[in-house]
């Protein structure tokens, strides 16, 4: 057994296993999620994120291991777990034939609120999520973003101690995405712990206090966003060339000067090299000077911490998203 720690854990998983046939979706996963704040489970499709969150939310029974959520065992005391959690899944769980108000009143009634209190709470939440105008319309007529917002509003009818958000912004437009993030931040300020899964590195970076990187059903790294980035290397030199025809020569020249491997991004004009803290700036300056002398046009350059994309690549050995991954920032 593990020792009781100072900060109460919202979730504690030890040696968690879940197999579907011969495939181990979750493979001896260990995870400790502290109470308070946002914890992100970051990983590509099929990494085991959803299965893990479904086990935590008492929907799927694990094949092995131990899971305690809010101090209760998910297999032996699921009802006790359910009194403190709420799950918003990948698909909007609202009823399309009912109106926005009716959907929220239904959830409130199920959670034990009285008729009048339910109506008041529904109105309050619809207003808070910018859905007041659509309150009396069947959800069928809502846009995807509106349905998602209503779904999240439904999970806040009675603020849960622990909220699971499974890919909360997948498929949302940027505006709705920001609205969802805003709602999550406000909820966390109230003391709710949020565990979210995401395949968007930017989302994990923006929203979470801690990130666990999951791959093939196991946690491969865990820490604050800054820790994860620095664990990969303290500094990265990124050079954007004006002309891609020079890239081969430029790559060789830069590698010779810096003495480290230089990689080419998906964008062939961008070269990146990992250089360590001490003397990094000098090394970068030397490298750039040599590039300039070799008549290679440098359009721009930067020296800084690696992006989460790079961190993910270094930690798992493959890219977070298979293709056309737009680089943020």
């Amino acid at each position: 057994m593990t020792m009781t720690s100072e900060v109460p854990l919202a979730i504690e998983a030890r040696g968690l296993v879940k197999a579907f046939g011969t495939v181990r979706a979750v493979d001896r996963l260990d995870l400790s999620v502290p109470s308070g704040g946002v914890f992100a489970l970051l990983g590509p499709n099929g990494a085991g994120k959803t299965t893990t969150i479904r086990i935590f939310a008492t929907l799927t029974r694990p094949d092995g291991g131990l899971v305690r959520v809010l101090g209760h065992d998910v297999t032996t005391a699921p009802h006790a777990v359910r009194t403190g959690i709420c799950l918003t899944g990948q698909f909007a769980s609202v009823d399309p034939s009912l109106t926005g108000t009716e959907n929220l009143v239904l959830q409130a009634r199920l959670l034990g609120l009285g008729r009048r209190a339910s109506r008041a709470r529904a109105a309050e939440l619809l207003d808070a999520f910018g859905l007041a105008d659509a309150a009396g319309r069947p959800v069928r007529t809502y846009s995807g973003g509106m349905q998602r917002r209503l779904d999240i509003a439904g999970s806040l009818v009675v603020a849960p101690a622990l909220l699971f958000l499974d890919e909360p912004t997948t498929g949302l437009d940027p505006h709705s995405r920001v609205q969802v993030w805003e709602a999550v931040r406000r909820l966390v300020a109230q003391g709710t712990t949020v565990l979210l899964t995401t395949q968007y590195l930017e989302e994990a970076d923006q929203l979470s206090d801690r990130i666990a990187v999951i791959d093939h059903g196991r946690i491969v790294a865990e820490g604050t966003p800054a820790e994860l980035k620095s664990s990969v290397g303290s500094g990265t030199l990124r050079v954007r060339l004006a002309d891609t025809s020079d890239s081969r020569l430029a790559r060789q020249v830069l590698g010779d000067v810096l003495g480290v491997p230089v990689t080419q991004d998906a964008d062939p004009a961008v070269l990146t090299a990992r250089i360590d803290g001490q003397g990094a700036a000098e090394a970068a300056a030397r490298g750039l000077a040599v590039l300039a002398r070799e008549w290679t046009q440098v359009a721009s350059f930067s020296l800084g911490q690696p992006s989460l994309d790079e961190a993910f690549l270094a930690l798992t050995g493959h890219a977070a998203q298979p293709a056309n991954n737009e680089e943020q920032a």
Partner: protein, 274 residues
């Protein structure tokens, strides 16, 4: 977007933690949902309107001629059977709606909430009773218009309706089990009817079992639907019905005893988890 989403006093710790889930309240809330859906989407009740009207007219004038006597006479034989056939036919939607709830992710939300879990299924079935009542009223109303007068009087007719509702509720558990066991709503519909049709037509709804070959007669005689039809006729005729009613109640209990736990087992098994 500036209004509050703060929970104020509504934190879970204060209001629901540790309490036992509320069976009756949760069930009634889910029944309320089922009825709201019918109100919002009246198409959901079309089967409960058209099938009774169509069947009553069709069977009366199709088969009526083959039977002796005035409409009033043969309605005594046909109407109880039409009633049973109509109500049982519209029970299959119970499985379809549960199936779509799961596919859509709605069940995941309920399954992770601190509610009495069977309420999600039972509530839906209780809400469906509204549709069955609608269908029964239509069949009886049509019958009255065509000259049917139940010899057992209003009391007998009411008892007959109650018995049919009890059996319809029990049969629904077959469809809820199918609805949760199968992947698509289409599969649920197809398989439900494959079970439904022999159960309803291989009974004494239209013909006396005496005219049937031995093997079929054996099935018809043990088919609970036959017992239900016989009980319905007796109740509406005002003749002794206790033993037939007893058989129907026994069959209802058996259906729930088998398909209730099976439904809940499938409900808890996580088919959505892949």
């Amino acid at each position: 977007m500036t209004a509050t989403i703060e929970p104020r006093t509504l934190t879970r710790q204060g209001h629901d933690a540790g309490r036992r889930p509320r069976m009756v309240r949760n069930t009634l809330t889910m029944a309320w949902r089922a009825m709201l859906r019918i109100r919002r989407e009246p198409e959901l009740a079309t089967d409960a309107i058209f099938i009774p009207v169509l069947f009553t007219l069709m069977f009366t004038y199709l088969f009526g001629g083959a039977l002796a006597g005035s409409p009033r006479e043969y309605l005594r034989f046909l109407l109880p059977g039409t009633l049973v056939l109509t109500v049982l036919l519209i029970t299959v939607t119970a499985g379809v709606s549960l199936n779509t709830d799961r596919a859509r992710g709605t069940l995941d939300r309920y399954r992770s909430m601190p509610v009495w879990q069977p309420a999600v299924v039972v509530g839906g079935l209780v809400g469906d009773i509204a549709r069955y009542v609608l269908a029964t009223c239509l069949v009886l109303g049509m019958g009255l218009l065509m000259g049917y007068r139940p010899p057992g009087g209003a009391g007998g007719a009411v008892l007959a309706v109650v018995l049919i509702l009890v059996f319809a509720f029990s049969v629904s558990w077959i469809w809820t089990a199918l609805g949760l066991a199968l992947r698509s709503a289409q599969a649920v519909t197809v398989l439900s009817f494959a079970v439904q049709l022999p159960l309803t037509f291989a009974s004494n709804v239209f013909v006396s079992p005496a005219t049937l070959p031995g093997w079929l007669r054996a099935f018809v005689n043990v088919n609970p639907v036959s017992h239900l039809v016989t009980a319905e006729r007796a109740l509406m005729d005002g003749t002794p019905a206790a033993s037939q009613v007893g058989w129907v109640l026994l069959a209802s209990a058996a259906l729930i005893a088998v398909f209730g736990p099976l439904t809940m087992h499938l409900y808890r098994a996580d088919l959505n988890g892949r």
